[in-house]
Amino acid sequence: MMQYLALAAVLFAIGIFGVLTRRNAIGILMSLELMFNAANINLVTFNKYIQVPGIAENLTGQVFAIFVVVIAAAEAVVGLAIVLLLYRNWKGIDVDRINIMKW
Amino acid sequence: MSCNMVFALAAEKLAGNIEVPERAEYLRVIMLELNRIASHLIWFGTTSLDLGAITPFLYGFREREDILDLFEMTCGQRLTFNYIRVGGVAGDIPREFIPKCREFLGKFDAKVDDYERVLTENPIFVARNKDVGILTPEMAVAYGVSGPSLRASGVRFDLRKDDPYSIYDRFDFNIPAFHNGDCYDRYMVRIQEMRESAKIVRQAIDRIPDGEVRAKVSINFKPPAGEVYSRIENSRGEMGAYIQSIGEKKPLRVKLRGGSYNQLQVMPELVKGHKIADVVAIMASLDIIMPEVDR
């Protein structure tokens, strides 16, 4: 079980790295997807290995993972729509340049 | 064939005294109408090919093959026909021409029905052509578009009726015309024209008299000086020949006018606001032949 958790941690760390270092908004979105997947691996692992007393049908983790997948899809859709809008208005999707929300 | 014809007409008009024999006139009409059918068949095939349907292409070429056989037995050529001469036609038709031609005409209407079954009612075909590339009558006249493309816009103008040449006034046929001027109407006009042409050929074959096929015209005949313009209706619109003569054996200037040039010119107006795929459809429906543009 610990291997799976470690794998998820590594994947999550890589995702963080991507989010912090990418300039390209699409690159950040991709890194976010990696982090979602890391969380999902954890959920499914817990579902497999950890027993919750009192629940016979032990699939809560998978159900949550499905929700996460759906939300990730929704997030990607909206995120990419925003990216396209940014591209149209700023002629680029470099997040370092897009700073009107700072003030 | 129609280039032969229009030049012969112009030369005869210029000379003024050439009497074309009756049988030759009938043969000319037969050949011209068969040629119109063959040309429309090519148009039908390439149009369907441009829209992505491959089968009708081969159907069109199958019937065209029969017409080419008829031409071959008449003048020996399958592509660059040279049959109509000043003062008549090059030679009489072989004996088996008439039965062969009757056989072809007998089955041709059913074949056209076939084409219509494949395309006319096909929802995809209709969707691709209806209300695409609308050519208004004003625009068509302004750009000098002629022939089926003009008639699809609702202008019922056909030189065979409006400025009869040869013996077209003796035949009973209709000039199909529509009013929307979109690709679909241009398609329908040509399909119906094929039927009408077949009708003309049928009448001509029934009534063709015996006799000479060529008036005596000296090889060295010198027409009087002057200029002349004659025009006929061919499959792509008005075909005109302009000859300027200075009374020599050779003319000073000859200019042939084809229909494609004007139809190409109107393209930019038609394709505005359409998709690339529609450009293909519009180009196909106008029946533009590039070599003819370059006349």
Binding site: - | L51, I54, T55, L119, N122, K275, A277, V280
Partner: protein
């Protein structure tokens, strides 16, 4: 003449050699993979030949006639020629992407056959997610198209790739929804279970009126679009895009795309036969013969479409999917669920 027994015998023979069970399973799976590959390669070659013959006869000509009986050797000669051709890689392409695109298309096309039952017991692995597995794997086809389009570094290839990706994504939705209608009735995702639930001809899902035929027709239309065939062959519309996403490919790589295309055509027909026409079920003849007969009948329908219809325009294509096919298939899914719930045709 069932051939399942032969495989069982071979498997037992392998076990009796005393190898460890893991190794036995691996060998069995590997040989199954090789066998399926061989069968599919033959089927694909046959389909190429058959497509020529069908198109020729629809167009009132003969097609290949010279080499062998009705030109049966022609396709083999063509395939050999294609494999011998020089494999050109243009200098401006994105090399790794250009290389992997046909490989992915090829592998995805063949991986689907893990869960397709060729006959009673003739299945590599009866996964409990059967049909979902197939649908998931086929999405890799889109990736390969996009990779080919992008990697070629050619505007026609890029346009073709984007067009076909947009098209396949759009048509996947109605396809999956129409398949779901059958799954609702079968109550299982496993292909074997679905086939076994249609043991008699009146139990075939195609005959479960009214939802069966609707589901089938939406499926077959969406499947035609999924395989990029006329009237939905926009990705390779010669008149607009030269040849679409594979314009830069030649030789071996082109052969892989080509083969994958025909295998995909067989796949969608096989799924159609399995879901709607009882798969291998049928009297007298062995099960795999029934399966092949039904599948080839559906393949013929696809070819018939191709050689009859003109091509749609891009916007009409999308409109057809989203505004017509999708609502119809969703309504059909609700209808199927309601029928199941109220017990109609619940034999």
């Amino acid at each position: 003449m069932e051939i399942t027994g032969i495989f069982k015998y071979l498997y037992e023979l392998l076990q009796s050699t005393g190898l460890p069970q893991v190794l036995v399973d691996i060998i069995a799976l590997a040989s199954a993979a090789v066998m399926i590959f061989g069968v599919l390669a033959v089927i694909a070659l046959f389909l190429v030949w058959w497509e020529r013959k069908v198109s020729a006869h629809i167009q009132q000509r003969f097609g290949p006639m010279r080499t062998g009986w009705h030109g049966w050797r022609q396709t083999i000669a063509d395939a050999v020629k294609l494999l011998q051709k020089e494999d050109i890689t243009p200098s401006t392409v994105d090399r790794p992407v250009f290389f992997w695109a046909p490989v992915i298309a090829f592998v995805a096309a063949f991986m689907v056959y893990v869960t397709i039952p060729f006959g009673d017991g003739l299945i590599v692995s009866d996964l409990n997610i059967g049909i979902l597995f197939i649908i998931a794997i086929t999405t890799f086809t889109i990736i390969s198209l996009l990779m080919a389009g992008w990697g070629s570094n050619n505007k026609y290839a890029l346009l073709g790739g984007m067009r076909s990706a947009a098209q396949v994504v759009s048509y996947e939705v109605p396809m999956v929804v129409s398949v779901l209608a059958v799954i609702v009735f079968a109550g299982s995702l496993s292909m074997v279970d679905i086939v076994q639930s249609q043991a008699k001809i009146y139990k075939w899902y195609f005959f479960r009126l009214p939802f069966g035929p609707i589901a089938f027709f939406t499926y077959i239309i969406a499947a035609t679009a999924e395989t990029n065939r006329t009237p939905f062959d926009l990705p390779e519309a010669e008149q607009e895009l030269v040849a679409g996403f594979n314009v830069e490919y030649s030789g071996m790589k082109f052969a892989m795309f080509f083969l994958a295309e025909f295998v995909n055509m067989f796949t969608v027909s096989a799924i159609g036969a399995t879901l709607f026409f009882g798969g291998w079920q049928g009297p007298l003849l062995p099960s795999w013969v029934w399966f092949l007969v039904k599948t080839f009948a559906l393949v013929f329908v696809l070819m018939w479409f191709r050689w009859t219809y003109p091509r749609l325009r891009v916007d009409q294509l999308m409109e057809f999917s989203w505004k017509f096919l999708l609502p119809v298939s969703f309504a059909n899914l609700i209808l199927a669920g309601w029928m199941k719930y109220s017990g109609w045709f619940n034999w």
